[in-house]
C-alpha cells in the first residue's frame, strides 16, 4: 500500500530544492565568480577545466562557467517572462471565449483548436521568422506558442464553472460581468491556472533551448542556455564534455520544475491524493 500524496510532495520538495539552487546560482553566481562572460582571450581557447576556468573555455577563450551562469539568468528570465505572458494571453482568451460564449467562443475555439494541433516549436519558429531573432522575440515566440494550449484548458475550466449556482446568484444579484469574472470566475479557476503555468515552465525552457540550438533564439555574444547549445553543436566532436554542460543544465532544471508541477497537480487532484480511501 503506497500513499502517492506523500511521496509526490516529497518529490516536489526535491524539485523546489534543485530549482532554488539553480536560481541562487543564476542570481549570485556571476557576481561570485567575478569573471566577465564576454571577455575574449584568444590565447586561451578551448581549454579544459582548470583552477582558473572551472569549466574550461569556449572557442573564443571565454570562461564557460561564467557564460553558463550568465546564460542561466537569461534563460530563466526568458522562461519566466514567456510563462507570464502566455498565462496572461491564454487566460484572457480562455476566459472571454468561455464566459461570453456564442459567436466569439465559436471562432476562438476553432482557432485555438487549429493552433493546438500545431507543435509549439513550429509556431515559435514562425514567430521568429516574422520578428527576427532576439531575446524579446524568444519571449514572444514561446508565449505565442503556448497561449492556445493554455486558453484551451482555461476555456474548459470557465465553461465548467460558468453556470454554477454561486455564479448564477451573483448574476441574479445584478453584479457586472467584470465583477463576476474577478470575484467568481477567476478564483474558481485559479487552481487550474496554477497547474497550467507550472507545467509551462519546463516546456518553455526546452523551447528556449531548442530555438537557441537552431540559432534562432538569443543571439551571440549574449549567452543563454539556448545560445550556448548552438555553440556546443560546433564543438561537440572536439570537446564533448564541455558541449554537453549547457544541455545538462537545461535537463536538470526542466526535471526539477516538472517535479514541482507534478506535486502541485497531485495536490490539486483529490483522486490522486486520496486513493485507497474509496470503499
Amino acid at each position: 500500500m503506497t500513499f502517492p500524496a506523500s511521496s509526490q510532495s516529497l518529490d516536489a520538495r526535491i524539485g523546489v530544492g534543485i530549482l532554488g539552487l539553480i536560481v541562487v546560482a543564476a542570481v549570485a553566481g556571476p557576481v561570485l565568480i567575478g569573471i566577465d562572460p564576454n571577455s575574449i582571450d584568444v590565447t586561451a581557447r578551448m581549454q579544459s577545466p582548470s583552477a582558473e576556468h572551472l569549466l574550461g573555455t569556449d572557442s573564443l577563450g571565454r570562461d564557460l562557467l561564467a557564460r553558463l551562469l550568465q546564460g542561466a539568468r537569461v534563460s530563466l528570465m526568458i522562461c519566466l517572462a514567456a510563462v507570464t505572458l502566455a498565462t496572461l494571453i491564454g487566460s484572457l482568451i480562455g476566459i472571454v471565449s468561455g464566459y461570453i460564449g456564442g459567436v466569439v467562443d465559436l471562432f476562438a475555439a476553432r482557432l485555438i483548436d487549429l493552433f493546438f494541433a500545431i507543435p509549439t516549436l513550429l509556431v515559435a519558429i514562425a514567430v521568429v521568422a516574422a520578428l527576427g531573432p532576439s531575446i524579446l522575440t524568444t519571449i514572444v515566440a514561446i508565449a505565442t506558442a503556448y497561449s492556445p494550449t493554455y486558453a484551451r484548458v482555461i476555456r474548459g475550466a470557465v465553461v465548467s464553472v460558468r453556470d454554477r449556482p454561486f455564479v448564477e446568484s451573483s448574476r441574479v444579484a445584478g453584479a457586472s460581468t467584470s465583477r463576476i469574472l474577478r470575484l467568481d470566475i477567476v478564483p474558481a479557476i485559479r487552481p487550474v491556472m496554477i497547474v497550467q503555468s507550472t507545467a509551462l515552465v519546463g516546456a518553455a525552457l526546452i523551447d528556449e533551448a531548442a530555438l537557441g540550438f537552431l540559432g534562432l533564439g538569443v543571439q551571440p555574444p549574449t549567452s543563454s542556455w539556448g545560445s550556448l547549445l548552438s555553440a556546443s553543436r560546433d564543438v561537440l566532436l572536439f570537446h564533448p564534455g564541455l558541449a554537453l554542460i549547457p544541455g545538462l543544465a537545461v535537463v536538470v532544471t526542466v526535471i526539477a520544475s516538472n517535479l514541482i508541477g507534478e506535486g502541485i497537480r497531485a495536490a490539486g487532484d483529490p483522486r490522486l491524493a486520496q486513493r485507497g480511501a474509496e470503499a
Binding site: 485507497g276 480511501a277 470503499a279
Partner: protein
C-alpha cells in the same frame, strides 16, 4: 431459518475490510450472516455505502483491491467459496452465480456490439467455445427477456438502446448460463417507474420459470418488497433487521427500518407534499465506535434520552416476533408497531 436442508448460499460472519491507514483497517461489511434458499428471492436494503453492493461482490469474488474478504462460512451449494482457487471462482462467476449490474449502460462496453459482448460469457466458460452456438443462445436469451427485435439488437451498440432495453440485455447476459443465483444490484434505479415495474415483473417471472434464487439489492424498501420473500436491512456495514417480507413491512422492528419505510414512497400512499427523509447521514465507518451505529439518527435514542447501553455497546442481531431478527436494544419495549410515519409524529407510550 431452513436449517434442516443445506441452503443454496450460506453466509456467516462475512466481513470486507479496507486499509484506512498503513496500520489500520475498517470494515465496509461487518459480520453479516444470512442464507439464500433455492428459488428464494431475498431483498437486501440499505442506503448507499451501507455495504450491500460490497456484500454482493464478496459472494462473487469480485471485491476490488485492496479489499479483504473474511467469513466463518461462505458456502455455495455446500462448497466453500473462500477456499476455491481464483480459476475455480472465475468458473463460477457468470455461470453459477451471475451479477445484474445497476448501471447497465456503464456496464456495457461502448465499442463492442451488444450481442457479441454478451456472448463472451459463453465463450469464456466453454472448454471448446464456438461463436455460432453462443450467438444462438444469446438470441434465445434476448427473446426470453422480451427484448424487441433480438436479431437487430444483437448487432446494436449499447448507446443505441433505450435504458429499459439495456437493462434487459444485462439481465439476459446474467441468465445465459442458467445460474443458480442471480445477484441483482439495484437493477431498476436507472429506469423510470413503468420500466422499473416491468423489470421487477421480469425478475419474478424468471424465478417462477427457472427456479433461480435472487438477491435483490436496492436502497428502496418498496421496490424490494414487491417481489422478495425475505428482507435483509443493512445499515453501516451490518444487518440490522431481517425477516419475511410481509412481517418486516407490516411491523418493522428496528427504528431504521421504520424510518426507511416512512421515507419510501409506497404504492398505496398518496404522494404527500413533503416526502419524509431520514435526517442525518450514516456514520463514517473509518471512525471506530463501540455503540449502536444508528443512534445519531435514531428517534428512539433521542426519545429515551440517550440511554447508556446504546452508547456503550452495539446491539447484536437477536430474534424478535414472527421469525425476525433485529439489532436494537429497545425492540421489546412495546413501541407501537404502526409502520410508516409514526416516528415522525413521535407517538410513543
Amino acid at each position: 431459518m431452513r436449517s434442516e436442508i443445506e441452503p443454496l448460499l450460506r453466509v456467516r460472519d462475512l466481513s470486507v475490510t479496507f486499509p484506512a491507514a498503513p496500520d489500520r483497517t475498517y470494515a465496509v461489511v461487518e459480520r453479516v450472516s444470512f442464507d439464500v434458499g433455492r428459488g428464494e428471492i431475498v431483498g437486501l436494503v440499505g442506503e448507499s455505502g451501507s455495504g450491500k453492493s460490497m456484500s454482493l461482490l464478496s459472494i462473487l469474488g469480485a471485491v476490488p483491491r485492496p479489499g479483504l474478504v473474511s467469513a466463518t462460512s461462505l458456502s455455495f451449494e455446500g462448497r466453500d467459496l473462500l477456499a476455491l482457487s481464483e480459476p475455480a471462482r472465475r468458473e463460477l462467476r457468470g455461470s453459477r452465480i451471475a451479477l445484474i449490474p445497476a448501471d447497465a449502460l456503464g456496464a456495457l462496453d461502448p465499442v463492442l456490439r451488444v450481442g457479441e459482448q454478451t456472448a463472451d460469457v459463453i465463450v469464456d466458460h466453454d472448454a471448446q467455445p464456438r461463436r455460432s452456438i453462443a450467438t444462438a443462445r444469446v438470441l434465445e436469451a434476448f427473446r426470453e427477456v422480451s427484448l424487441p427485435n433480438p436479431k437487430s439488437r444483437f448487432r446494436s451498440y449499447p448507446h443505441q438502446l433505450s435504458g429499459g432495453m439495456q437493462q434487459r440485455v444485462v439481465i439476459a447476459a446474467g441468465l445465459l448460463l442458467t445460474p443458480d443465483l442471480l445477484l441483482a444490484d439495484e437493477p431498476t434505479t436507472a429506469l423510470d417507474a413503468t420500466i422499473q415495474a416491468q423489470v421487477l415483473r421480469l425478475l419474478a417471472s424468471i424465478r417462477e420459470t427457472r427456479g433461480v434464487s435472487i438477491i435483490l439489492v436496492s436502497h428502496d424498501l418498496a421496490t424490494v418488497a414487491m417481489i422478495s420473500d425475505r428482507i435483509l436491512v443493512m445499515y453501516a456495514a451490518r444487518i440490522v433487521e431481517s425477516g419475511p417480507t410481509l412481517a418486516v413491512m407490516s411491523a418493522p422492528a428496528h427504528p431504521y427500518t421504520r424510518a426507511l419505510l416512512a421515507a419510501a414512497p409506497t404504492l398505496d400512499r398518496e404522494i404527500t407534499t413533503t416526502l419524509p427523509t431520514i435526517p442525518g447521514a450514516p456514520p463514517d465507518l473509518r471512525v471506530s465506535d463501540q455503540g449502536c451505529r444508528f443512534r445519531a439518527r435514531c428517534p428512539v435514542f433521542e426519545f429515551l434520552g440517550a440511554p447508556s447501553e446504546c452508547v456503550s455497546s452495539d446491539p447484536p442481531l437477536r430474534p424478535v416476533a414472527d421469525g425476525r431478527l433485529a439489532a436494537c436494544h429497545h425492540v421489546d419495549e412495546g413501541f407501537p408497531v404502526v409502520g410508516a410515519g409514526t416516528l415522525a409524529s413521535g407517538s410513543l407510550p
